[in-house]
Amino acid sequence: MFEKDKPQSERNLENEKQEFLAIISHELRTPLTDIKNYLSMILEGEVGSVSDEVKEYVAQAYTANDYLINLVGRLSRVAKIRSGQIKIKLDRVNLSGEIKMILNDFKVPAFDKGQSLKYVMPEKDIFVKADYDSVWEIMINLLSNAIKFTPKGGAIIVVLREESTKAIVDIKDNGPGIDIKDKGRVFEMFNKVVSDRIKETKGSGIGLYLSRKLAQMQNGDLSLSYSEPRVGSVFTLSLPLD
C-alpha cells in the first residue's frame, strides 16, 4: 500500500513514529558521544593512571557505548529513509571496480577469521545506474554480515553477473543459514528471526532492512535467494545496468 492510500489516522501515527525516531536518535547521540570521550580520556591515561583491571572494564564500556552510537546512527538513517530525506544520486557506476575495492577493505577481517574471500566476475567491467555511496553501504553491510556469521575457516564468495537488464551480485556465505519459514522476515527491522543471531554477534537488526530500502530506492532490490540451516546463505543484490 502506498503512503497516500493509507487512512489519515494511520499516516499521522506513522509521522509521529518517524518524528519520535528522529528525536530519539538525535537526543541520544550527544550524551553517547560524551560518554565515549570521557571513557577514552580514562583509557588514554589523561586523568591519571588506572589499574589494568579498571582499564579492561572501561574498555568494555567503551565498546558497548560504540555499539550504541552505531545503533543510533542506523536508526537515524532509517528515520531519514522513511521520511524521504535520503538523497539518491543515480550515476554511471563501475560495479566491477567498486566491488573489487570494497572486497579489498575486507581482506584483513576475513584473514583474521581464517576465511577465504573470493570473487567471480566477467573480464569486461559491468556498469550500473546507481548511487555510489549507497552501493558501498549495501555491500559493506552484506560483507560484514557474511564475515560475522561465517565460522572460522569458512568461505565467502561474491559473484557478479549480468542478467537481462540487471547486474546481479550474489554474496554467498558459510553461515548458520536461515530456516525457510523465516526467509521472508529477514528484511524486517528488529525481526524475531535474527534476534538470536543479534544476541550472538552484537548486530543491530537494522542493516538488512536499510540495505534493501537503499537498493529499492535505486530501482534495484535485495533478496535472500538461498538459505539452508547449517549450510549457508546467498543474498542477492540487483541493480539496473547502465
Binding site: T33, D34, N37, S40, M41, E44, E46
Partner: protein, 127 residues
C-alpha cells in the same frame, strides 16, 4: 608560542574533554558555547584554528562561518568542522565556504581530534 585553538560547541562536556586534551598537547584553548560568542571570540582572539560545531544556539555554524568570511579580521582563519553524521548538507555548504576538513564527533576521540589538529597545523606551516 603556543598555537591557539578556538573550540566552538554548545556541548559543555565535549568542550571540556577536548580542551583538556588539547591543552595537554601544548595548545592554548579558547572555548565558546554559542555562535554569537564564537564569532566575537574569533575576531578578538585571532586563533590559529577554529573547531566549529554546526548546530549552535544564537547563530548556527554555517552562518557563523559566512560572517567570519565576510570580516577581514577572521576571513583567513582556518576552520575544521565538528559534525554529526546527519549533517551532510551543512558540511557541503561549509566546504564551499572554505572549511579544510570535517570531523564526525561520534567517530572521534579527544586523541584523534588532537592528532588532526597537530597534522593540520604542521602541514600548514603553523607549527
Amino acid at each position: 608560542m603556543a598555537k591557539k585553538i578556538l573550540l566552538i560547541d554548545d556541548d559543555v562536556s565535549l568542550t571540556e574533554v577536548y580542551s583538556q586534551k588539547l591543552k595537554a598537547k601544548g595548545y592554548e584553548v579558547v572555548v565558546s558555547h554559542d555562535g554569537l560568542d564564537g564569532l566575537q571570540k574569533a575576531a578578538s582572539e585571532k586563533p590559529d584554528l577554529v573547531l566549529l560545531d554546526i548546530r549552535l544556539p544564537k547563530l548556527d555554524g554555517v552562518m557563523l562561518f559566512r560572517k567570519m568570511n565576510a570580516d577581514q579580521v577572521t576571513a583567513k582563519i582556518p576552520v575544521i568542522l565538528l559534525t554529526n553524521v546527519d549533517e551532510e548538507d551543512a558540511v557541503v555548504e561549509c566546504f564551499k565556504l572554505g572549511a579544510i576538513d570535517y570531523l564526525i564527533k561520534s567517530e572521534m576521540t579527544p586523541e584523534k581530534v588532537s592528532h588532526k589538529v597537530a597534522k593540520f597545523l604542521s602541514e600548514s606551516g603553523a607549527e
